[in-house]
Subunit: 425 residues, 2 copies
């Protein structure tokens, strides 16, 4: 045991040392490579277990807002892996604290429970060669199974970390979940104000390091009007025209390409009959940017476009039966944020990814890390494993070729060990 701890401690120094070199330019040291090799050897021994966990987790459905069955399973699996302080919080997140040798802020290691697949979607894992197929197998069963492997690594080797680690399986990462789990964790839960850094495992490529949070603001904009007979009431204001002018106004907005800032008029519905002027049109709009100020500026421009369109319609046509009114309802809010590329957490992940043989690259995305990044708490979302595809479709798959898969698994573990500073217990 002493030997392993020494090796880990030495490797930590290697990884930490690498961080001092010009960012991302250095070649990996032989010591870091040796460290990765030792981690991989252990994780290789867990390969069959990880695959079995993947299947078990995946086949326990976790539709949006209905993650409780999978939460209960993961809580039990965390206990089975050796943790004895496992709870489920008020929002539905599974929390498992592994104490450190020192007091202080906790390091959160997380993956999300929910999938995008609605209740009733058939979910059965199938294998074809080196691929496992099933909805959600990579997004994010892999993150959950990886976390369990790492817990077993720490427990089986009785590794002590300086910093406490809070393992979290979150609810509501996808779509309408709107990051409700991680939001609760940081703003209402028992660990509010006590989280020092955050790591989310949420894609299938251990080379992808998401250090920038694409923020989004999503609106349902409803245009209400009097409505009427298409012939008899011709000439009165039409919410359809106000909606159209709004879309046109949005698509005339100029947005920066760096930081990438985007909008989409994505969904629309309204009207009851072809021969009636509608009394209501609903429009959904998505706006994104990794830069909060750009996102706020865009949002302001979009809402102004809607207001201008409504005022224009009320001025252009007859309002004797009523005016067009506007209700803009925020239906999605993912704050933007960033962990600087030169932050130790980013550099550690980058180095570990390279050491494991991955073509490391920094990226941006919208993940659970949006919340801590927006709060200025160092956070990162990285991949585990060695690729997959067709995410969010029922043809989703995961590559499980043993060597690369295990190499992918090792990256997150290396980051955890570096971040929490392994010390003998």
């Amino acid at each position: 045991m002493g030997k392993t701890i020494l090796a880990v401690a030495t490797a930590w120094a290697m990884v930490a040392g690498a961080m001092a070199a010009p960012a991302f330019a250095q070649t990996q040291s032989s010591e870091a490579a040796a460290f990765q090799t030792s981690l991989r050897a252990d994780l290789d021994g867990q390969y069959d277990q990880v695959i079995a966990d993947l299947v078990r987790i995946t086949e326990t459905p976790a539709p949006p807002f209905k993650e409780s069955a999978r939460a209960a399973l993961v809580a039990q699996m965390l206990r089975d892996a050796g943790l004895d302080n496992v709870t489920i919080d008020a929002e539905g997140n599974v929390l498992a604290l592994r104490p450190g040798t020192e007091e202080g802020p906790v390091f959160v290691v997380s993956a999300h429970l929910d999938t995008v697949f609605p209740e009733g979607t058939p979910i059965k894992v199938t294998r074809d060669g080196d691929r496992l197929f099933a909805p959600g197998i990579g997004d994010d069963s892999l993150g959950l199974a990886s976390m369990l492997a790492w817990v077993r690594h720490l427990e089986n080797k009785a590794l002590a970390t300086r910093q406490p680690i809070l393992f979290v399986a979150t609810v509501g990462e996808e779509g309408a979940g709107d990051l409700r789990g991680v939001r609760h964790l940081f703003t209402q839960g028992a660990y509010k104000g006590r989280i020092g850094a955050f790591l989310s495992i949420d894609n299938t490529n251990a080379g992808r390091i998401v250090h920038a949070a694409v923020g989004s603001r999503r609106y349902r904009v409803t245009f209400n009007g009097p409505g009427g007979h298409s012939y008899g009431a011709f000439g009165i204001v039409n919410p359809m025209a106000a909606m159209a002018e709004t879309v046109r106004g949005i698509y005339a907005i100029e947005v920066p390409s760096d930081p990438k800032t985007t909008y989409a008029a994505s969904m629309v519905s309204g009207g009851t009959s072809v021969n009636a002027i509608p009394d209501k049109i609903e429009l959904q709009i998505d706006m994104r940017s990794s830069h909060p100020a750009d996102l706020a500026k865009l949002e302001q421009a979009v809402l102004a476009a809607a207001e201008t369109a409504v005022a224009g319609e009320n001025a252009a046509r007859d309002t004797k039966d009523g005016t067009i009114t506007l209700v803009a309802e925020l239906i999605g809010d993912r704050p933007a944020g960033m962990t600087p590329a030169d932050h130790p957490l980013v550099q550690t992940a980058y180095t570990a990814s390279q050491a494991a043989g991955f073509k490391a690259r920094l990226d941006d995305s919208s993940t659970d890390s949006n919340i801590p990044m927006s709060l200025g708490i160092p956070a990162l979302t990285i991949g585990s494993g060695a690729g997959g595809g067709r995410t969010h479709s029922t043809e989703e798959y995961l590559n499980i070729g043993r060597e690369r898969f295990v190499a992918g698994l090792s990256v997150g573990l290396a980051v955890i060990l570096a971040q929490t500073k392994v010390r003998p217990r």
Copy 2:
């Protein structure tokens, strides 16, 4: 019997004579009034029967495209009223020929079988004072029940008309039915080319004389595009933007107010998720005018607006994943037309309506008469009865206060007798 026939023949001369006077300015002659009084006396004797027929017809549902149960009932009721040549044509119309004393073009007297109410709508006639309540009671059960009363009048009095009368209960007058019944009658049925004039009974006010057919052209316009992720694919063409520009283009079209010409962007739908650029947006558009050339011009402008919008969108944004394409599908086609205000049929109806004590007025609408009017065949849609309301709603009602109701019933009969030139059989 001879006396009645004489009275009718005399009254016809009165009505015909009134037509020579400056249109709509003359006061009713005492002879015409006496004629109306005699008709009312007979119809008053049928009052209880008409109310019973109304209830029976109304409570036999006739949803759009599912009029066969009511058709069978009305066919039997026409037989019971004394006609022996009753058939149902290929489209579902009920046809009952009452031969004239002379050969020649037939005079069609019609009402429509269908209602706007979907299958399963609860239909039970209730009475509150002088009102009968039920979906469809006025539109157009009243027309059908009126027709039956007039057949009984002709049969019971053994009145012979010069011109043959074809009583028709049509299918598909409402909405998506798109006048399919009357269209079949004039363009494909056994009486194609043999109809000299057409009278439709289709509103609850015997003072309303619809001599102008508001034509309509209705389109479902589908904007297709590649679609994609709202953030990842930002910059590609969006069918939503093309739809919006189309609506904007339409609402910039100037249309004449006389003849009244109108448009409405009435229904819209599309998009699958707030975070996706949609791959399809559907827009429904209604256009109307009583002037065929104005309607055609409007249609051309609307379709040009859509084409311009699509071309503009393909020029404005990236088409690497595909372009926006347009499918414009005609989903409604009611031809415009008019029977001139000084046509004998219009003047007869106007005079008869005034003689019965109604405030006669000429109007335009979209009814079964659209088809003959568009073909240049004299046609008219008039009301029967003495008012009602909330048409096309489940709170529809009909005024059945005896005296005014019977007066309303008499108007159509007076028109028929005048048109077909009653002669002893």
